[in-house]
């Protein structure tokens, strides 16, 4: 029992430290990626050396020192609770991510399900923030968030069905282990069901963008329409909570995509390493993190490339295209498994 507690505590500490450093890294890299795409250089001076590496640290210090303003008309309880709820729910999702072989806080049988469930809690936090802010723009942002996220959870969930049906498990660890075959390249997108995997991955990615309020679906905080949407009235550390949540959630959904479609911690040649060896742990973790970072990078790339959709177009895309398509993909995946099952019997 003590051993279990200890290992859980160590994993938690590692994961929490990882989240904080990662979010700061993402804030910095978002600025560098934006600069790179936009013929600029981004932050260069902070830290006095390499590519403005200390920019995020300086930003956090600034945000910590800023005055924490709450409007007189604001609902203080909701206003103060919202950032904490949003951040806590984003961090809670990390619990079930399989970072590397044996590096995982909790292997829950319903890992994917847990992530989807907790992701909806973020929405409640955003609505609380918008409502509690005493600002019409914030209310608009919150209402958009409610409409958008509620409708995109359906295609998001449905687009996760093909890999779940293929692997026959909701557990992210089991799904990763199922992709170890073919010299560590038995990833779902390279499997016999690749013709289902690739479109369902694209559907998942679009739905994840919308779920995370990333461009072109960043309507709840559309700065040219709603000033800053639901976090217009937030300043200082509370604002940074929303900021961290965005990057943490981006990473979680990228990680889910990396695990279910891109093999998680698997990498070519994984079978030649001994089980429980340090090298396997390090390389596996690196493989997982790199795949996730790549997907996060694609999210940034999309953000700095395309214009924003309008709210009715977002809804049309969700209900008229993504939901039917992801449903078809789920049915195809089930049908394919059934055909394979029949073939196995014969």
């Amino acid at each position: 029992m003590t051993e279990l507690l200890l290992s859980t505590a160590v994993s938690l500490a590692v994961v929490l430290a990882f989240i904080t450093v990662m979010a700061m890294f993402f804030v910095w890299s978002e600025r560098k990626v934006a600069g790179w795409i936009q013929h600029r250089v981004g932050p260069m001076r902070t830290g006095g050396g390499f590519q403005g590496w200390a920019q995020s640290i300086a930003d956090s210090i600034k945000l910590l020192l800023k005055e924490d303003l709450i409007l007189r008309g604001a609902d203080r309880t909701l206003f103060q609770l919202a950032p904490a709820l949003v951040l806590a729910s984003a961090f809670a999702m990390f619990v079930v991510l399989p970072f590397g072989p044996g590096l995982m806080v909790a292997d829950i049988d319903l890992g994917v399900f847990l992530i989807l469930a907790i992701a909806s809690v973020t929405t409640i936090g955003v609505i609380m923030a918008g409502w509690g802010s005493f600002n019409k723009w914030s209310v608009y942002g919150a209402m958009r968030e409610a409409a958008q996220v509620a409708s995109y959870e359906i295609p998001l969930g449905l687009s996760l069905m093909p890999p779940i049906i293929y692997f026959g498990t909701f557990s992210l660890k089991a799904a990763t282990e199922a992709q170890t075959g073919s010299f560590g390249m038995g990833w779902y997108i390279f499997s016999d069901a690749f013709w289902i995997a690739i479109p369902s991955f694209l559907l998942f990615f679009v739905a994840a963008l919308a779920e995370n309020k990333r461009a072109p679906f960043d309507l709840p905080e559309a700065e040219s329409e709603l000033v800053a949407g639901f976090h217009t009235e937030y300043s200082g550390i509370r604002f940074s909570f929303f900021f961290l949540e965005e990057y943490a959630a981006m990473f979680v959904f990228s990680a889910v995509g990396a695990v279910l479609w891109l093999g998680g911690w698997n990498f070519p040649g994984i079978q030649s390493f001994e089980e429980d060896s340090t090298a396997l742990l390090l390389l596996g973790t690196a493989s997982f993190v790199l795949k996730s970072f790549f997907l996060v990078f694609v999210m940034m790339w999309v953000r700095w490339t395309v214009p924003r959709l309008r709210i009715d177009q977002v809804m049309t895309l969700g209900y008229k295209y993504l939901i039917p398509l992801s449903m078809v993909m789920a049915l195809l995946a089930a049908g394919w498994e059934y055909i394979k099952h029949l073939g196995g019997q014969a």
């Binding site: 795409i37 608009y140 559309a222 040219s224 000033v227 924003r308 309008r310």
Partner: protein, 390 residues
């Protein structure tokens, strides 16, 4: 017990209450500090959820009494004030004012100065349209086109810096001619810029204008009919976007425009209805290529010679009289009405600014569209608040 669950409430009083919930339109102030109003302009929006029921624009936050100042300073001293009403197209403002003063003086400007004026005005048109197209992307949530546009605009500003020392408020074109002759090699640099710009123009086209989301956000939005455009006094890309074939450079030629070959670009409803936001942006995109054509001809034809009329000095005393001269500013018809009583100070300087008239119709385009379209419509008008308020 297979009846509908809602039947349980049938016996309760109040079942007959009408199902429509009474709702109230939401009044929102968009501005004066708002990212999409391009400065300190305020739009009072009446919104029914996401749909706009009405809009009202409030101007005047940037009023600096430019016209009144014109009645208190010398004719030449007023020139820097013209830079400041449309700060994105200051060359064109200088040109409009100078032409008005020259028509009072009856002074004919030397040929080289005329060419330099057209070169600067057209370069400024490219810079202004680049900024308009770029910020339009920003209004729609696309950040990158703006930075590409600023990269190219920067080259134009550097050219201006070389010829007159200023990057934004030039005061380069002045009554009687231009301030400086072009420094050595400057015209070659302009030609080099045009070569580069023709290539990067396609970047904006593929990155932004042909983007599916951009088309969805602009086509069929904020449709300004030809009749509306004419009756509201719209000019410039706003008018031509609605399909009206009217350009002062061709229809009321000034300087050497009648010797130059160029097409007047007008909207054709390329992706939607004629006169929508897409068409207005479309006109701006192609006016840049027409400006490149004009500039190439000017660079080939520019003669040597004087750059200032010898009789126009620092103190100008036009003969008593009045004059109205309008030119084609990047935003539309920029008119200067000047009255002189023979002294060195004007009696009246009146400016007919294009953004002001163009903006007046915008609030009539908004009702019925979505909240997100408000930014799209305001952006497509391409206002400069310094000029609407003066």
């Amino acid at each position: 017990m297979s009846s509908h669950p809602a039947a349980e409430f049938d016996h309760l009083p109040g079942r007959e209450v009408e199902l429509d919930v009474a709702t109230q339109d939401c009044l929102i102030h968009m501005g004066p500090q708002h990212p999409a109003t391009h400065g300190v302009m305020r739009v009072l929006l009446k919104a029914d959820g996401e749909i706009l029921a009405g809009a009202q624009t409030h101007l005047g936050y940037l009023h600096r009494c430019a016209e009144k100042i014109g009645e208190n300073v010398d004719w030449l001293q007023y020139l820097p004030y013209t830079d400041r009403y449309d700060y994105l197209a200051a060359m064109n403002n200088n040109l409009g004012y100078s032409l008005a003063v020259e028509s009072l003086l009856g002074a004919e400007v030397p040929a080289r100065a005329q060419y330099l004026r057209v070169i600067c005005a057209e370069l400024n048109r490219i810079a202004s349209h680049l900024f308009a197209v770029g910020t339009y992307g920003l209004d729609l949530g696309a950040f990158t086109p703006l930075f590409s546009a600023l990269r190219d605009r920067e080259e134009v500003l550097e050219l201006f810096e070389k010829i007159c020392g200023a990057r934004l408020t030039y005061s380069y074109i002045r009554p009687g001619g231009v301030m400086n002759d072009a420094p050595e090699g400057w015209l070659t640099k302009v030609a080099e810029f045009l070569d580069r710009f023709e290539k990067t123009w396609h970047e904006y086209w593929t990155l932004m204008v042909e983007n599916k989301i951009f088309i969805e956000r602009t086509a069929n939005i904020g449709v300004l009919t030809e009749e509306q455009a004419l009756s509201w006094g719209c000019t410039g890309p706003m008018l031509r976007g609605s399909g009206v074939d009217w350009d002062l450079r061709r229809d009321q030629p000034y300087l050497i425009y009648d010797q130059l070959e160029f097409d007047v670009v007008k909207g054709i409803g390329y992706r939607g209805t004629l006169g929508d936001c897409f068409d207005r942006n479309f006109v701006r995109m192609f006016e840049m290529t027409e400006s490149v054509r004009i500039l190439r001809q000017c660079l080939a034809q520019i003669p040597d010679g004087e750059i200032m009329h010898e009789e126009v000095g620092a103190v100008i005393r036009p003969a008593p009289g009045e004059s109205y001269v309008s030119i084609e500013n990047p935003r539309g018809e920029l008119g200067h009405y000047v009255v002189s009583n023979g002294t060195k100070i004007a009696v009246r300087v009146r400016v007919r600014s294009p953004s002001f008239c163009n903006m007046s119709v915008a609030e009539h385009l908004m009702p019925g569209s979505m909240l997100g379209d408000a930014a799209s419509i305001i952006g497509s008008v391409d206002i400069v608040v310094g000029e609407t308020d003066r």
